[in-house]
């Protein structure tokens, strides 16, 4: 298979869909790679670097597989050969007719944004890897347009409080922004409609703002859903109140397949202090702020509103590396050159495949993704690419039958019946003395049974050593056997007393030593406790 990497043509796009590293990956899979001249220039990758990795510099459009960042322009749709596989972001809902046009050219279309958010597909998830970078970049852009320090400073020239940053929407981008702002020293607050976000926000050291009213905002796939109007009213009130002391707002709220919700209407924006910065990361999908102009920086009443839609692209080198690695992982999923095919039943590839050999494919029936989908998104600081997957979050320890209450109940019942029958047999035939002892024995067993179950696991060892000492009660038996004469019985009895006495003294003393150590939070005890046995 030949893989073609064209130069991005849409304005402002600096990324490229392959790097010399992924070129090597493709060659390793048995493919050949053609890179358009100058494709990596904006990402800081010169043509010789591709050539050195083994790619050909030339016309990429004749390739069997075209990999790209952005959806094709009208001109680009005409270029590939019929039947070729097209891999890029498609975002068909923004450009109606695009997909139909591609299908008319008999292209197979893999839309990268449709790769499902499941653990296995994490390594192919461009949305997450790009959102991670965008979130970071949003903070950096905000810092550039903000006229103050992020961290607090007390200097001879005056004291400064830390910048107060509000992140709205704690998805991957929001969390990345939050972490970056924290790292710069800002005081960070975050708001999200999803309850699960709270834990993640707090884990990064930010404060989670919550509304007095309860409404779960979890939609499918770890994304948020559209909220009710009363919820939105409460939300607006919260933002208005927050506006008084917030310096920087970063909004990342997106609802899949719909226009981004307007969280900061004009009147809320006007509550902010002059000099505040609003970074609207949802600008491309219509913006979370009413005043946002996509791709532009505007100033309203001294408040800076950044509507950049190319945040990830502004870090083209890193973004290209992440993006092309995601794409390479997806291509690798399709097999090596000799076994290369599009698996129509694969639960990662199928949802992303929008068109195939002249047919538009309907979306597959949505599978309910795990609730924790958002939680498996790696924290921005440590993108986890797992070589061995840990068991899924819902893996239950398969406790076998022995824990089953029914089985235990049966065991207890049968056991008691056996004991009762035995007692009846004994009552009929055994000497009354023995019967009396048996009664005592069975009762004592039950008492022990009831008393011990409540023991706390930490005390197992002391319990064992104390029962050990107590079972030294057999010393009484030995004493009973010592008589007047020095015969075998007396000597054995005395020996029994001797060994039982070791047990009694040893058991109680060891228990005492152990219990002395079980002291709460007293750092002085270890010296004493461990010093004891060296004397």
């Amino acid at each position: 298979m030949q893989i073609g990497v064209p130069k991005e043509t849409r304005p402002g796009e600096r990324r490229v869909a392959a790097t010399p590293d992924t070129v090597k990956t493709y060659l390793g899979l048995g493919h050949t790679v053609v890179v358009e001249a100058g494709a990596g220039e904006a990402s800081g990758i010169a043509d010789p670097a591709y050539a050195a990795a083994g790619a050909t510099i030339g016309d990429p459009w004749g390739a069997d597989v075209i990999i790209k960042i952005k959806p094709p322009t009208a001109a680009e749709i005409e270029k590939p050969k019929p039947g070729a596989l097209w891999v890029s972001l498609i975002q068909g809902e923004r450009e109606p007719g695009l997909l139909e046009a591609m299908n008319a050219k008999k292209l197979s279309v893999l839309a990268l944004e449709r790769v499902p958010r499941v653990t296995r597909a994490q390594k192919m998830d461009v949305l997450s890897s790009m959102a991670n970078l965008s979130g970071y970049r949003a903070v950096i852009e905000a810092a550039e347009h903000y006229q103050g320090l992020f961290g607090p400073a007390i200097t001879a020239a005056g004291a400064l409080p830390p910048a107060r940053v509000l992140v709205i929407g704690a998805g991957v981008a929001g969390l990345a922004a939050l972490a970056a702002a924290r790292a710069l020293g800002a005081e960070v607050r975050a708001f999200d409609t999803r309850a699960a976000a709270r834990e993640q926000v707090e884990s990064l050291g930010a404060k989670f703002l919550h509304l007095a009213m309860e409404e779960a905002g979890e939609g499918t796939g770890g994304y948020a859903k559209v909220m009710s109007s009363s919820f939105i009213a409460a939300e607006m009130a919260l933002f208005r109140e927050q506006a008084k002391d917030i310096d920087i707002v970063i909004t990342t709220a997106l609802v899949p397949g719909a226009k981004a919700p307007t969280l900061l209407p004009r009147d809320v924006v006007e509550c902010f202090k002059p000099g505040s910065v609003i970074v609207d990361m949802a600008a491309e999908q219509g913006g979370n702020c009413e005043l946002t102009v996509p791709g532009e920086r505007i100033v309203h009443n001294g408040i800076v509103i950044l509507g950049f839609t190319d945040l990830a692209s502004r870090m083209a080198t890193t973004a290209s590396r992440f993006f092309s690695t995601n794409v390479a992982n997806l291509i690798a999923e399709l097999g090596k050159a000799d076994t290369f095919k599009i698996p129509l039943d694969d639960d990662v590839v199928r949802p992303a495949l929008l068109a195939h050999s002249g047919d538009l494919l309907p979306a597959p029936p949505p599978k309910a993704p795990p609730k924790a989908a958002i939680a498996v998104v790696p924290p921005p600081a440590a993108p986890a690419r797992k070589s061995v997957l840990p068991p899924p979050a819902d893996a239950k320890s398969a406790q076998a039958n022995i824990m089953k209450p029914t089985r235990r109940a049966w065991g207890t019942t049968v056991g008691s019946m056996v004991v009762i029958v035995l007692l009846f047999v004994l009552g009929r035939f055994a000497p009354p003395d023995f019967l009396r002892h048996s009664t005592v024995f069975v009762l004592a067993c039950f008492v022990g049974w009831q008393v011990i179950w409540s023991v706390s696991p930490a005390l197992h060892t002391p319990l064992m050593s104390v029962t050990n000492a107590i079972s030294g009660i057999i010393i009484i038996g030995g004493m009973l056997q010592v008589g007047t004469d020095l015969d075998l019985a007396s000597i054995l009895g005395a020996l029994a007393v001797l060994f039982a006495a070791i047990n009694v003294a040893g058991g109680f003393l060891v228990t005492h030593r152990m219990l002395k150590m079980f002291a709460r939070g007293a750092p002085s005890t270890p010296a004493k406790a461990s010093g004891g046995h060296h004397r």
Binding site: S387, V388, P431, P457, M464, G477, G483, L498, A505, A529
Partner: protein
């Protein structure tokens, strides 16, 4: 006198129950031990008083024997208890069990030689049943008591040797071990027949001795066939046997206190064994007859693919200092390396910097139930930061760094998702859900269960190779050093 004795014994029994009850909570544990000592002192005191009362001054030799035995025994026991290191606790407990077994054997044989139950202690009601039945019951009591005692004795000695390392932890799996066990059990039962029919003490005596030997072999063989990893269960099982042995001696001697106390200890040991077994998702029968706990099933798991990432101590220390929440999972390796003091010091260093440090204890960590708690308590780790598995498992996703010190099988994800793993189904500490796991280990060898651990190959796992004590000491130095910087 008899009535007085009965009341005293009843009181002692109640004190023992209070003692066991007290030991179930941290706050009352010390009191529980005191109750136990009081009960024991009362029982021994009353028994001694009644002994002297019965014999007056007619038995100087017996009195001398008694005094000497108690004095020597108490001194030896006290010395052992004072000298033992907390890491040697499992061995001490095991060897103490063997003493109870030995005492039970002696009491049984002695009471067969000369039954003195009627002269001293509680005298039973006049038998209304056929005296032959009474004799048979009495002899079976002796038979059972001696057998249980002998099994406890040799079983405990083997367990002690395995824990100490004198014997290898590997199970000795004879080809026909189940058949062998069955043969021994049957012959023990069979030999009872000539013993019952014996006309005098001297005629029955050889049978009793032979049976004692057989029971001894049975006990040794049973424990020999159990792997080192199952020793916590074996030790608590032997704990219960030592109780049953005491109870059997009580039947022989017609002594209610022995019966009550033995039954208490017996059921307590049984419950501990059950708790242990549940923690490993196995049944007691599986532990005792399974011959499990070692490399037997090794072939069933393919070696997991993936590389191992190593990390050096300074980097680990840096990660710890950057973390907000740290969980330490100690295992037997920490006990072996005697690293608990260093671990405690590192914990203090981290806590002083406001880092939340907690300990996660798996129910079967170590070689004795509660082993890790004892070691950590010895080192002065506050017990409110030491948590059980159920209480901490949900917290791992929120944890920044998990430090696994010398533990292996208890953090094996294969137990949850790999049905071919021999430990499949055992609840484990789900450390891999945290942001990062650092495993301190001597090398890449498998754990006691002989199972490969996929945890070591997961992307967010780092290995810090070396002796646990040395590694932790390095971390202590690093965490303290950067505090000054």
């Amino acid at each position: 006198m008899s009535g007085f004795l009965t009341v005293a014994y009843l009181l002692a029994g109640v004190l023992f129950i209070r003692s066991l009850g007290g030991l179930s909570k941290q706050e009352t544990a010390g009191l529980g031990n005191t109750y136990g000592i009081a009960g024991m002192a009362l029982a021994i005191g009353v028994a001694a008083a009644s002994w002297i009362f019965t014999y007056r001054m007619t038995a100087p030799i017996g009195l001398g024997l008694l005094m000497a035995a108690i004095l020597i025994g108490a001194t030896v026991g006290a010395t052992m208890a004072r000298k033992v290191e907390m890491t040697g606790m499992p061995e001490l407990v095991a060897i103490l069990h063997s003493f109870v077994g030995l005492a039970a054997v002696f009491v049984g044989i002695s009471s067969y030689r000369a039954s003195r139950a009627e002269t001293l202690g509680q005298k039973g009601a006049e038998p209304l049943v056929d005296p032959i039945i009474v004799e048979i019951v009495h002899r079976s009591e002796i038979w059972v008591g001696v057998a249980v005692g002998a099994i406890t004795l040799t079983g405990s000695i083997i367990a002690w040797a395995k824990l100490k390392g004198t014997l290898s932890g590997k199970p000795l799996l004879l080809p026909a071990r189940h058949a062998l066990n069955a043969v021994i059990v049957l012959s023990i039962a069979g030999l009872a027949v000539p013993f019952m029919q014996a006309q005098g003490v001297d005629e029955g005596f050889p049978w009793l001795i032979i049976m004692t030997g057989l029971a001894g072999i049975l006990g040794a063989h049973l424990v020999l066939a159990i792997g080192g990893a199952d020793m916590p269960v074996v030790v608590s099982l032997l704990n219960s046997y030592s109780g049953w042995a005491a109870a059997a001696a009580g039947f022989t001697l017609s002594n209610d206190l022995l019966i009550v106390t033995g039954a208490l200890v017996g059921s307590s040991g049984t419950i501990l064994s059950i708790i242990m077994c549940r923690a490993m998702n196995r049944s007691i029968l599986n532990v005792v007859f399974g011959g499990f706990g070692t490399a037997e099933n090794k072939t069933s798991t393919a070696a997991p693919a993936g590389e191992v990432h190593e990390m050096k101590a300074p980097d680990v220390a840096r990660k710890l200092l950057e973390a907000k929440r740290v969980v330490i999972v100690p295992g037997y390796g920490m006990a072996v390396a005697r690293a608990q003091q260093s671990v405690a010091e590192m914990t203090r260093n981290l806590r002083d910097r406001g880092i939340e440090v907690r300990f996660a204890i798996h129910p079967v960590a170590g070689r004795l139930p509660g082993h890790m708690n004892v070691l950590l308590a010895e080192a002065g780790v506050p017990y409110d930061i030491v948590l059980e598995m159920e209480h901490i498992n949900a917290d791992f996703p929120r944890t920044d760094v998990v430090l696994v010190i010398g533990a292996n099988d208890i953090v094996n994800p294969g137990a949850l998702d790999d049905p071919s793993s021999p430990i499949y189904g055992m609840p484990v500490l789900e450390v891999w859900k945290s942001a990062m796991v650092v495993v301190l280990k001597r090398g890449m060898s498998a754990g006691y269960a002989g199972v490969e651990n996929p945890l070591f190959h997961i992307e967010n796992t780092r290995m810090l190779f070396g002796d646990a004590k040395k590694s932790i000491d390095a971390l202590v130095a690093e965490t303290r050093g950067s505090a000054a910087a």
